[in-house]
Symmetry: C2
Subunit: 214 residues, 2 copies
C-alpha cells in the first residue's frame, strides 16, 4: 500500500522504515519538498522510499500518518490539504503536548476537545483514526519490546468503521495483538491525556520503553 507520512522526525523515519520493510511504499512529507532529513532517509531506504511536501505525501498515500510534533499537527494537516487527503484513512499518532514550561509537559487541548478531533475538523472528508500515541516509536513498531515483555494494549478510535479496519490491519502488521476500538474520534479525549501518565512514569523510572497493558 502507498503510505504518506506527515513528519520527518524520528517517529516518521522509524515508522516509515518499518513500513517499507513490510512491503509498503512510503513518502515522507515535510513543510517543503527537499527536506534534508527526508532526502537522507530516502537515500538510505531505496526504491520504495520517497519524499515531498505535506501536500505531496497526502496525494501519494492511500493511507496517511500524521507524525508531527503535537504543536505542529493542525498546521501540517491543513497544509497537506483536505482535498489531497479526501476519502483516505488518516492515522493521527500525535499528542497535544506543550513543553513550553519544561518537563513534565502539559496538554494544550483536552476535556471538551482533543487533537484527534482537531485533525478530523481540519481534514473533512477523511477518516481520522487516533492510535499509536500511547508509546514510543520503538514500541510502535515492536510492541513485544515494551518493558515486561508482555503484550501491551493499543487503543484506536475514529468515526469510520472501514478506516478503523484498515488501520487495525496495519497495527497487526506492526505486531500489535491486543487492540481495543474505543469508539468515535471523540474518545481521543480519553487516550491523549494518558501520555501525561506515561511521561511522568518515564521520568520517575528513567525508562521510555514502557507500555500500558490492561
Amino acid at each position: 500500500m502507498k503510505i504518506g507520512i506527515l513528519g520527518t522526525g524520528a517517529v516518521g523515519q522509524t515508522l516509515g522504515a518499518k513500513l517499507l520493510s513490510l512491503g509498503h511504499e512510503v513518502m515522507l512529507g515535510a513543510r517543503q519538498a527537499g527536506n534534508e532529513k527526508a532526502i537522507t532517509w530516502v537515500q538510505q531506504h531505496g526504491g520504495n522510499a520517497s519524499e515531498g511536501a505535506f501536500e505531496d505525501a497526502a496525494q501519494f498515500g492511500e493511507l496517511l500518518i500524521v507524525a508531527t510534533l503535537g504543536t505542529g499537527t493542525v498546521a501540517a494537516v491543513t497544509q497537506a490539504g483536505a482535498a489531497n487527503a479526501a476519502g483516505k484513512p488518516v492515522i493521527d499518532l500525535t499528542n497535544p503536548l506543550d513543553f513550553s514550561q519544561g518537563m513534565p509537559p502539559q496538554l494544550f487541548v483536552g476535556l471538551t476537545d482533543s487533537l484527534g478531533e482537531q485533525v478530523q475538523r481540519a481534514l473533512p472528508g477523511t477518516y481520522v483514526v487516533k492510535t499509536l500515541n500511547l508509546v514510543n516509536v520503538a514500541q510502535m513498531i515492536d510492541p513485544a519490546s515494551a518493558d515486561g515483555g508482555g503484550e501491551p494494549t493499543m487503543f484506536l478510535c475514529g468515526d469510520n468503521a472501514a478506516a478503523k479496519q484498515q488501520v487495525t490491519a496495519v497495527l497487526q502488521q506492526l505486531g500489535w495483538r491486543r487492540i481495543t476500538d474505543l469508539g468515535g474520534i471523540k474518545e481521543a479525549r480519553a487516550t491523549e491525556p494518558f501520555v501525561l501518565l506515561w511521561v511522568r512514569y518515564g521520568i520517575v523510572h528513567n525508562t521510555w520503553t514502557h507500555a500500558l497493558t490492561f
Copy 2:
C-alpha cells in the same frame, strides 16, 4: 491505626471492611451521623467499626480516606473540616466524573487543575495523597484479582513525603507491590484523566476488573 473514611457507599464499606480485617479501627463518615448504611455496616463488622458525621470521622482518624462520589468530594471534605483533619494524611481516591450526560462520563476538572488539588486546597494543613482512583474497589483491596492475574501498577502523588510513606504502607497492606510515586499532588492532573480510558475500556469489553500494568 485509626482510619476515618468519608463516604458510606460501596467503596467506603468494602475498603473499610478490608482495613478492619487488617487490624485497623475504622469509622465511616456521612453527611449526618446515624446514616442507615453506615449503621448496618457497623452492626456487620463489630467492635472496631464505628460511624459518625464527616466531622467525626475526620477527628477520629489518624489517617483519612475520601471515598465519596467525585461530585460530592469538595463538599464532604469541607464539611469534615480542615481543623479536624489538620496534620493528617488524607487519601483521596475520588475521580472528577460527571455522569450528567450519561455514559461515558466526562471529567468536570482537568488540564490546569485536578480534584486532588481541590481537596488539598479545601483541607489546608493536611497531607493529601491521590491514589487508588485507578481501579474498582475489588481491585483496590486485592490487586492480584485484576484481569490478567499479574501485578498491576498503582500510582500515588502528594506534596508530603512522610504522608506518602504512610500511604504506601497501607497500599502494601492491601497487596499492592508495584507502586510509583509520581511526585506532587499536581500529578493528579495525570492520573485522574486515566479513569476515562479505564471506563471506556470497561464499556467495550464489559469488564470492570481491569487494571493498568506498566
